[in-house]
Symmetry: C2
Subunit: 356 residues, 2 copies
């Protein structure tokens, strides 16, 4: 028996999660996965229920679970509360407390949705990049960080960007391991011409590379990487980078596909226990309308089956089912184009269940 | 008499600067600008000549000058030397020592070059963004920064990202001032949901906004900004952001145009004294071949006339001359397309001189 903790979160979170759960339940039966689902709150929903964005009991449940499925967190309702207990804090805390340092963010262009990209077809056709982002270190969690008033009465604030050898080594390994089973090309992104932490990053990545002679390693400055993603994104296979650069570059890369509503993500610990969530946010503007795209969350279920449970057949089947509903011309509003059939969140979920 | 210090730099720097100087000399005569030019080295060229990427005497000359025109710095020749005296260090030092905190990086799509963009024409047609980047603070210069060995034998390194109220205030003002004379829209980019420095950034920008009721201010997280630049870049007029985010976003934005060989930049101090340089790098791979595009450097001359000397007529005339040579179908290799006339660096410079 495997325990899956489901955290629907805020905004469109509950709607898209309902569809993902339908798919997960079917896969559970069909492939005898022996999963048991339990539900709890994270983010704004947790603030409303527990007064904090991640309650201790939720964290305990997350620790005990074998995998976590997350919708999305945040929304205007909680924008004006104390920054220390905003919805995002719950997300950052669960990542950090569970040691989910390995964030996998694929930027994959579905051929059926090629025209949704703002880039020219020839630039993005067949795009398939995997961004490996360090998720529990760097400037997101570095201490000290402070906001203070100087003697002259002026305010100032600072953050710290630290990386240790072991933090860099373990994420570099994830990058190389992923590259090894994909296109065998790893691009490590840093700002080694300016940052001390990046100089160490580059040195350690070079050391790890010795164990992966079959993977072609390159280094790129982050500003150039942001540029190359726009100019010629297909030059990349796997990119590995730090927490902040990964935040920026993975969002940029996902938008190259034009359909961020399709992209799942995984955040893994050292034992491949993971939290799985769509790359998109909680989209409060369309919450409750039944029009959100559930496919990224459904594909997050597939990633969970693949990475945390090694259930390759079930994972493949879900991906194929998603591809099939796209072939059938079904589209939620965010990926709809002339001539296609516009459907709502639950109709899309049902179609995937049907295809599966 | 105004003193202009010319620093051709490395790689294609000397070639493109030769053309910019032709144009500057002509403008000098034609508009009786009373400029006196002197020349020195920065970056790799300075390492070869002085042993350091920015010699004290060069810095003194830069201080004494009324404006500085820079080519580009860096190249593989100096890649293996001590990081503390690499070519880029000269660039960072001159920015910091001269207090050039206000970096203006336009991302402008020339209608004649619309097809060079990797984005669809309807997404980028008419694109005209100005990125205002803080250039002398933040994580580029923050102390402490260190690389060390921990007691357990592990290496670690860290950088510090500090911002003071006054640093934020003065760059925010540049952003608002620019927005006021352009589309009256300013988007401030930060990561206030994670960073202490960004929270102060956002608070101070809000304060400065009170003096600019005619400018519409918005805030955006840096990850979303990286995404929106790909999705719908024309939503932006002026963007203001910190040193590191500005490095990344300005390169991303410039690449949206597809012709980074066309984009100039300005780095200004509190009195609008400035250093002007192309956005592109030193392109060592094509150095010495006479094929580099000199237009970004020529347009940097125009920016210099506009921002440091208020010579609007001369600045406009240079921009018009550049547009004219594009209309004539002249193109260097980087912006060439079928049916256009391919020309080299000096032929392009001559054409601009002719048009002027
Ligand atoms: C919500 C925010 C704190 C988070 C991050 O910056 O990591 C988000 O942007 C993400 O990428 O998952
Ligand atoms: C060369 C490098 C240090 C520099 C920077 O990061 O500022 C460059 O990328 C730039 O944007 O001018």
């Amino acid at each position: 028996m495997k325990q899956i903790l489901v955290l629907p979160g805020d905004g469109i979170g509950p709607e898209i999660m309902a569809e993902a759960v339908k798919v997960l339940n079917l896969a559970n039966d069909k492939y005898s996965l022996d999963f048991e689902l339990s539900f709890d709150d994270l983010g704004g929903a947790a603030i409303d229920r527990y007064g904090v964005p991640l309650a201790d009991e939720t964290l305990a449940r997350a620790r005990a679970a074998d995998a976590i499925l997350l919708g999305a967190v945040g929304g205007p309702k909680w924008d004006s509360i104390d920054p220390a207990i905003r919805p995002e804090r719950g997300l950052l805390k669960i990542r950090s407390q569970l040691g989910l340092f390995g964030n996998l963010r694929p930027a994959l262009l579905y051929p059926q949705l090629a025209e949704a990209s703002s880039l020219k077809p020839e630039i993005v056709a067949g795009l398939d990049i995997l961004i490996v982002r360090e998720l529990t270190g760097g400037i997101y969690f570095g201490q000290p960080r402070e906001s203070k008033v100087l003697e002259n009465g002026e305010r100032m604030a600072y953050d710290t960007l630290p990386y240790s050898e072991s933090e860099i080594r373990r994420i570099a390994k994830v990058g190389f391991d992923m590259a090894r089973v994909r296109g065998k090309k790893l691009c490590s992104v840093d700002k080694a011409n300016v940052l001390a932490s990046s100089q160490l990053w580059r040195a350690v990545v070079e050391e790890v590379a010795k164990d992966y002679p079959d993977v072609e390693l390159s280094h790129m400055y982050v500003d150039n990487a942001a540029m190359q993603l726009v100019r010629a994104p297909k030059q990349f296979d796997v990119m590995v980078t730090d927490n902040m650069f990964g935040d920026i570059l993975s969002d940029e890369a996902s938008m190259l596909t034009g359909s961020i509503g399709m992209l799942p993500s995984a955040s893994l610990d050292a034992d491949n226990k993971g939290m799985y969530e769509p790359c998109h946010g909680s989209a409060p503007d369309i919450a409750g309308q039944g029009i959100a795209n559930p496919l990224a969350t459904i594909l997050s279920v597939s990633m969970m089956l693949r990475y945390s449970f090694g259930q390759v057949a079930a994972a493949d089947a879900i991906e194929k089912a998603v591809s099939l509903v796209l072939d059938q011309g079904l589209r939620t509003g965010d990926i709809w184009s002339e001539g296609k059939t516009k459907v709502g969140t639950s109709a899309m979920g049902d179609a995937v269940v049907e295809a599966l």
